[in-house]
């Protein structure tokens, strides 16, 4: 029996053993959804590099680890929590995949807005959850999704009522406690911005210690007609962890959606950002990945122009140091009926070492004839002339390189309008590329 088959058995057994203990185990419809997903997983297992979409990312190490399921939340100390929680936000806090009501704060939410843990919302909003769960995902490979559906321990339920504006961003803080070592957590977020509403959601991923664990998170997002939703992710998992994430979004007519995806952490990470665009929808997907040591960071985007007159604008930047590896695969699909589509995609990479690697693969499938589609990929190094110029003015060599690296990355940070989030991402950048004697507030 190969390691992969063995672990399929391990995880398949884990699914069978866990089903009735999971959130909503008493609900036949949910149990049935989970069972179906579990069976599908038992058949397929995790994806392998033989699959086209997983060519560059090998998750076999994850199988060898045979993680066990986290069954309860560990503790998180107050100082750490303070670092993680952003100012001026509503907060939902999850530790090791379990909702922590006493660490969360949801005061002053506008009327008609639901922000709750799935576990808390199940009684009051069962129909809403049922309608959203597994309603958005159109993915060719479903290994991690099935795994998540079968095992999710909790997650956020967010529903913004029609024509309602939620001023403060909603932060979903996912924290791996020191008890997370060799465990796995599955989180499922269900988000709907109803017609004409406006909101901003920020998912953050942090770890108290540098443990090895698996965090598998799926967010399903519906943006109804004329709604405007911003969704950001800041991934700062432990440097030994595995992070597999998916954001699956349906944009309805005239919907506006912007997804900002910042990757700093995890030993191996994969983010699937999918958007299905309705008529005249406006979709922005931006990303920044900053790899060091032997980190592996994989971002997959899939923008499906299913209807005419929609706009998509996609820009991903990678900074790869040491022996890190960045993968970007961006697929744009323009359906036959999606005339007047305007789609742009760019991926620019900066390699800081000879041993760093960037794999970039834009894929355009265009079935309509009256469309604008542009894409560009670059992989480059720091400009030697600029390094010399900065050094000739008194910046030491490392500072000069850091300044140029920071400048390259900062393009994806300076436009963040919500200051606490911008400062958080800046901190993560400056931690990796310190500038001698310089302070954040001078930027």
């Amino acid at each position: 029996m190969s390691a992969s088959e063995l672990s399929k058995t391990h995880y398949a057994e884990l699914i069978t053993a866990s089903n009735e203990h999971l959130m909503g185990g008493e609900l036949p419809w949910l149990t049935s959804v989970r069972e179906k997903a579990g069976e599908a997983f038992a058949g397929e297992g995790f994806p392998t590099p033989r699959e086209e979409e997983w060519r560059y990312t090998n998750v076999s190490a994850l199988e060898k680890n045979q993680f066990s399921l986290a069954t309860q939340a560990g503790t998180v100390d107050a100082d750490f929590l303070k670092q993680v929680l952003l100012d001026d936000c509503h907060h939902l806090v999850f530790v090791d995949g379990f909702y922590q009501a006493e660490l969360s704060s949801l005061a002053d939410l506008p009327e008609g807005v639901i922000v709750s843990a799935l576990s808390d919302g199940l009684a009051a909003h069962e129909e809403l959850i049922k309608s959203l769960l597994d309603s958005v995902i159109e993915a060719p490979d479903r290994g991690f999704i099935n795994f998540n559906t079968a095992l999710f321990s909790d997650g956020a339920l967010i529903a913004i009522d029609e024509n309602t504006n939620v001023d403060k961003p909603i932060q979903l803080a996912f924290i791996a406690s020191s008890a997370a070592a060799l465990s796995l957590s599955n989180v499922r977020n269900l988000i709907v911005a109803k017609a004409g509403s406006k909101a901003s959601i920020i998912e953050t991923f942090d770890a108290c210690e540098s443990n090895c664990y698996l965090s598998n998170v799926v967010s399903e997002v519906v943006v109804e007609p004329n709604a405007n939703l911003q969704h950001s992710r800041v991934q700062e998992e432990s440097s030994a962890a595995y992070h597999i994430a998916g954001v699956y979004t349906r944009l309805e007519r005239n919907a506006i959606f912007a997804q900002y995806n910042y990757t700093f952490g995890a030993s191996l990470s994969r983010a699937e950002i999918h958007a299905n665009l309705g008529e005249a929808a406006d979709c922005r997907l931006d990303g920044l990945y900053v790899g060091q040591d032997r980190q592996h960071m994989d971002n997959h985007t899939r923008v499906n122009h299913a209807q005419p007159h929609a706009i998509s604008n996609e820009s991903y930047k990678g900074v790869l140091a040491d022996r890190s590896r960045g993968v970007f695969q961006g697929r744009i699909i323009v359906a036959e009926d999606a005339q007047k589509t305007d789609a742009k995609m760019s991926n620019r990479n900066l390699l800081l070492s000879d041993r760093a690697e960037a794999d970039s693969k834009p894929q355009l499938e265009i079935y309509a004839d009256d469309v604008k589609c542009a894409h560009g990929v670059t992989v480059g190094q720091l400009d030697e002339k600029a390094i010399f110029y900065l050094r000739s003015r008194g910046a030491d060599e490392q500072t000069a390189k850091n300044m140029l690296t920071f400048a390259f990355a900062n393009e994806m940070v300076e436009h963040i309008s919500f200051k606490p989030l911008q400062m958080r991402v800046l901190d993560a950048l400056l931690l990796r590329f310190p500038q001698a004697g310089m302070k954040k507030e001078w930027l």
């Binding site: 600029a386 110029y389 000739s392 008194g394 910046a395 060599e397 400048a407 900062n410 393009e411």
Partner: protein
Amino acid sequence: MLKIENLHVSVEGKEILRGINLEINAGEVHAIMGPNGSGKSTLSYILAGREGYDITEGRVLFHGKDLLEMSVEERAWAGVFLAFQYPVEVPGVSNIYFLKAALNGIRKFNDLAELDAMDFIAMVKGKMKELDMDEKFLYRAVNEGFSGGEKKRNEILQMSVLEPSLCVLDETDSGLDIDALKIVSEGVNRLRDSSRAFILVTHYQRLLDYIKPDFVHVLAHGKVVKSGGPELALELEEKGYSWVDEKLAS
């Protein structure tokens, strides 16, 4: 302050400088003139520490220390400044941030405390006014999208903020209209004092109408072929560089 002794420099096996000797004291302004390809810019880059040159013979002493042993930034910390012929565009790094990083690097080396942010901005804004530069340049990326004249002014701004002891100006007059040339020259003249020396590398005499040199050296084929006072520049202007070649031949 600066002593260049028998400096020989090659690039990819081709000898560019063939035994340069120069001595520059504090308070002096030296002009180095010469035709294209004479090695003027190479000399500037050698002083600033650019890579890609083979120094096959000779030495350069700066305040008694071996300049050629110092890294690029060590030279800047010690007080060497090169105003580039083609200032480099640095996208994403704002001018103000760049100036601050540069000044702090130099101050740190000299065991001076960082300047307070408010004092720093006030100081820089004052110098910008003298150079007739709009304050908005502070918040733009270094040299990005600047016109030729704006780039040269920005070099002089950096020079006046960093206050080096040896200023090397490489073809600073190129690409400047007459008004900009005056402003830049005034900026340089303001910095002239008894503790500071200047090397003006230039093809044309024009700059020297505004910045009066104490000494003029003519560089040809990698050697200083003639040295003299300011009158030498005028002679060159009148007779052209072919005159130098003829003299060499005779």
